[in-house]
Amino acid sequence: MRRTPTESIESHGRISRRSLLMGSAQLGFIGLLGLRMRHLQVNQAEQFRLLAEENRINIRLIPPARGEIFDRNGVLIAENEPSYRITIVREDAGDVDTLIARLSELIELDDTSLNRAMTEMRRSPPFLPITIADRVSWEEVSRVAVNAPALPGVTPEVGLSRRYPMSEDFAHVIGYVGPVSDYDLSRIEDPDQLLRIPRFQIGKVGLEAKREEFLRGKAGAKRVEVNALGRVMRELDRREGQQGADLQLTIDHQLQAYTQARLGDESAAAVVIDCQNGDILSICSSPSYDPNLFVRGISVADYKELTGNKYRPLANKTVQGTYPPGSTFKMVTALAALEVGVVDANDTVWCPGHLEVSNRRFHCWKRAGHGHMDLNKALRESCDVYFYDLARQVGIDKITSMANRLGLGIRHDLPMSAVAQGLTPTKDWKQQVRGADWVVGDTVNASIGQGFVLASPMQLALMTARIASGKAVTPRLIKSINGAENAAEAIPPVDINLNHLRQVQQAMYAVSNNRRGTAYRSRVIEDGYRMAGKTGTSQVRNISAAERRAGVFRNKDLPWERRDHALFVNFAPYGNPRVAVAVVVEHGGGGSTAAAPIGRDITLQALYGGMPPLSAYPNKDRAHIKEQQDRIRRIMPDRNGIREGRA
């Protein structure tokens, strides 16, 4: 409808008034915005600029390279190798599922690690890179890199990862590393920021764990400019960290490999110690496992196989396993008796095959009896009655004192996991632990290394080394740290009469070289390399009266876990002792048949620094020794630690 001019003018006037009002309100608000801007940008500028710097600059830790581990000849045992991994940043990735589908066409993704990555991804903030594939090959990395445009948020990264080129041979010594777990964090009070790095590898077991403080090194740091997603845009400056210290072991990798191979599939342990300075030249527990499996993250199936094996591959039997030393303990009883003076080397004891002690009959292993026995014969033929008689007169306290001086019942300071103390019983100990009085029968049992006495193979080797050298040597595993010799202090002589030691050494020589010696069959005929040893067969069961009546079962008729342990200790060469060896074959049967041959082979290998000539062996052994040497030679590494068939 048509507006009258008056109406038009009124409309115009009203609109003008209201628009002026509205306009001023709008300008007022603009002024307000300006003031707010001024407040933020001028008055609070300093504060916000600081916040912006904080936003922008991020301090990142540079993980140090872990120290490497070498054998005594400088051959690598634990090294760091570059490892490539593929990471995903969820925020950049967009649709993670299709991305993974695309990725799986390029590289192999296994379900376990994929599941782990997905869980991790759900738990962590979206901008953190999550490892989706670890240890991918260079080829796979390049395939991912080429296809990068189609894979948003996917980055190949390079890091250092632990590798054990010797595989099984050093598993129990070195242990292995693994990513820090929540459990580790709660257990160790270590303020080191490095542990906060996801999947940072620390020593879990063995030397890797025990000498973590040397091996780990110090973290470096870099200041980086990051964007809101945490992606590094550029590096501003960096302070290099300190690489972990390199450790050199006293172990000879070739001897170690030989020993491991010689133990074979037996559930056994062997230790070779330098008699003069306590250097551990070889320390093997069998069966072993591949520590690399743990570094990579062992599969459930593999782990089950290891834990389910009745031979206990994960246990380090050399220091952790303790066994009744059996007859190898007789040197201790002998030395204690000589020291106390209850017996002279020439005094004889009549062995009728048993001894009555407080109305209990203790049997000799030889039911028919040994007849007249002096010290040399008793040790040589391992007569039990002779030592029963001695022990009864000497008492447990003197025997324990002697055992301790020889290194038994003492927890030695070795950088290995679960080093056992063993057990040299005392009257107080029995009272406290068993709540019963010590009886003579206990002493009698202890005299032949049965009853309460327990020792680890490492302790037995150490005992033998002390008997052989007369020096109170202590075991040493680390030869040098970062090239600086881990100097052993001057070794004091062992607190035992040297004459007595010599008498025992002579008897041990007879064990291996006298026609009637229990280890005569495992003798060495090469002069200058002759051994002195002692066999041991320790019972792991009580022989019941019924069994005794029925006639004792032969070992091989028993189930494996009830058979006797076979032990053998020796030193060589006699007269100029260099190495002491202890071998324990779990449930192996007799010491002379199951353990002594292994002890001899290892000893010769150590003395010759390689495969011994067949001429060192008695004639009738040579054929099968040659065969055995050929078999082992095929799987042995060379001087530089390189195995045939491996690049």
């Binding site: 409808m1 048509r2 507006r3 109406e7 038009s8 009124e10 409309s11 115009h12 009203r14 609109i15 003008s16 209201r18 628009s19 002026l20 509205m22 306009g23 709008q26 300008l27 608000f29 603009i30 915005l33 300006g34 707010r36 801007m37 001024r38 933020l40 940008q41 001028v42 609070q44 500028a45 504060q47 916000f48 600029r49 916040l51 912006a52 936003n55 922008r56 903030p125 400019e225 990051v226 964007n227 809101a228 997603l229 845009m233």
Partner: protein
């Protein structure tokens, strides 16, 4: 009909109309958009792609559209305003029914060459129909309840549809923009007081309904309001946007960090850096002076619009100009309040500066309408 007020003969005709455009306004638009190109170039890390170049093309297209719209006599636009409004309404219903889902809200219809946001269109057509309505309505009826309810209904209908999408920012813009047109059309004070009182009541209702089965807003909208009220409560979550935006803004200082030197925006600390939060980039890189300069440009645009409206004796034209400029004002003031932490993050772009297709085109068409009103004003 009121178009008889025009003395057609006095209006310029043919291409001479171009000479009668409000050129000052055109220059201001170019200046503001230029600032936008600069910032889009900067946030892309010194590159015309992916944002600056399409934005420039779109602006050029928008300028052409603006001139074309300006060439068409204003009475034509008034006559089709009912149709335009109806079409926008139908489109809004259409997105509700079949629109593609984007960013958690159904907002656009894919036309193939561009994504059309009917809510953008509605901002203009709502102003058009309201202006036409008050042009048609005899002046003395303006404040009568019945005649107030009709425009209120016209406003609330699209607002309800937009709120359902849900797009809180646009619904606030629609309702406030519409109310401003009504205010210019001299609707009585009492109505506005009543509505403001009612809104206060609604706010209470919104908060009271939270967590119940009939809660009025989506959860994320509640969270945005929460974090607006206390941004530090959740600095890495929803409060992140506001906190980061304030940090970027604040670190600009007086003169800024310099072109392309703004670390916060370049390093992606800023969310939506090329759209809703582009002002923070400008303020970080050019500081308070740069920000105030842009604010000044906006103020000038408003002033020129108001001047144009006051110089226009045609009721429809004046109301249209004022309505569009009010919507424009709401756009940038809500956006700036948001990035400066004075309002919750509601998702309103900075007009002419933020990257975005349909917003830019619709805005240029709106300015075309203003130009048309200006060119064809009664002399």
């Amino acid at each position: 009909m009121s178009y008889l007020e025009y003395t057609v003969k006095t209006a310029p005709s043919g291409f001479r109309k171009i000479l009668f455009l409000n050129w000052a306004l055109v220059m201001l638009l170019i200046a503001v958009s230029g600032a936008g190109f600069l910032m889009l170039y900067s946030v892309a890390g010194g590159s015309f792609s992916p944002w600056a170049e399409p934005q420039m093309k779109r602006f050029a297209m928008g300028l052409v559209l603006m001139v074309i719209v300006a060439m068409v006599p204003i009475w034509f636009w008034r006559n089709i305003s009912v149709v335009a409004y109806s079409v926008s309404l139908v489109l809004l219903v259409l997105v509700e029914v079949m629109g593609s889902v984007g960013m958690g809200a159904q907002r656009w219809i894919d036309l193939g060459f561009m994504r059309l946001q009917p809510s953008e269109l509605m901002k203009i057509t709502l102003v058009m129909i309201l202006a036409a309505y008050y042009d048609w309505l005899p002046m003395h009826k303006t404040s009568r309840p019945l005649w107030v309810i009709i425009p209120a209904f016209l406003i609330l209908l699209p607002t309800a549809l937009v709120l359902r999408q849900p797009d809180l920012g646009t619904s606030i813009l629609l309702i406030t923009g519409g109310a401003m047109v009504m205010f210019m059309a001299s609707v009585h004070w009492a109505y506005f007081t009543a509505v403001i009182g009612a809104v206060g009541g609604l706010v209470v209702a919104v908060f009271q309904s939270r967590g119940t089965a009939w809660q009025l807003l989506k959860d994320y909208q509640y969270r945005r309001i929460d974090t607006f009220l206390d941004p530090s409560s959740d600095p890495l979550g929803a409060g992140y946007h506001i906190t980061q935006s304030k940090i970027a803004l604040g670190s600009g200082g007086w003169t800024g960090r310099g072109f392309m030197q703004g670390t916060q925006s370049r390093l992606n600390f800023l969310p939506e850096k090329h759209t809703d939060f582009i002002f923070t980039t400008l303020a970080e890189e050019f500081g308070f002076l740069g920000g105030a300069f842009l604010l000044g440009l906006y103020a000038l645009i408003l002033l020129f619009c108001i001047a144009a409206a006051m110089a226009n004796r045609d009721r429809f034209s004046a109301l249209l100009i004022l309505g569009i400029s009010a919507t424009f004002f709401l756009f940038f003031s809500v956006n700036m309040s948001m990035v400066m932490g004075m309002a919750p993050v509601v998702g309103v772009p900075l007009p002419l500066v933020s990257y975005g297709g349909s917003a830019m085109l619709v805005l240029m068409i709106a300015f075309g309408l203003i130009q048309s009103a200006h060119v064809h004003r009664p002399r």
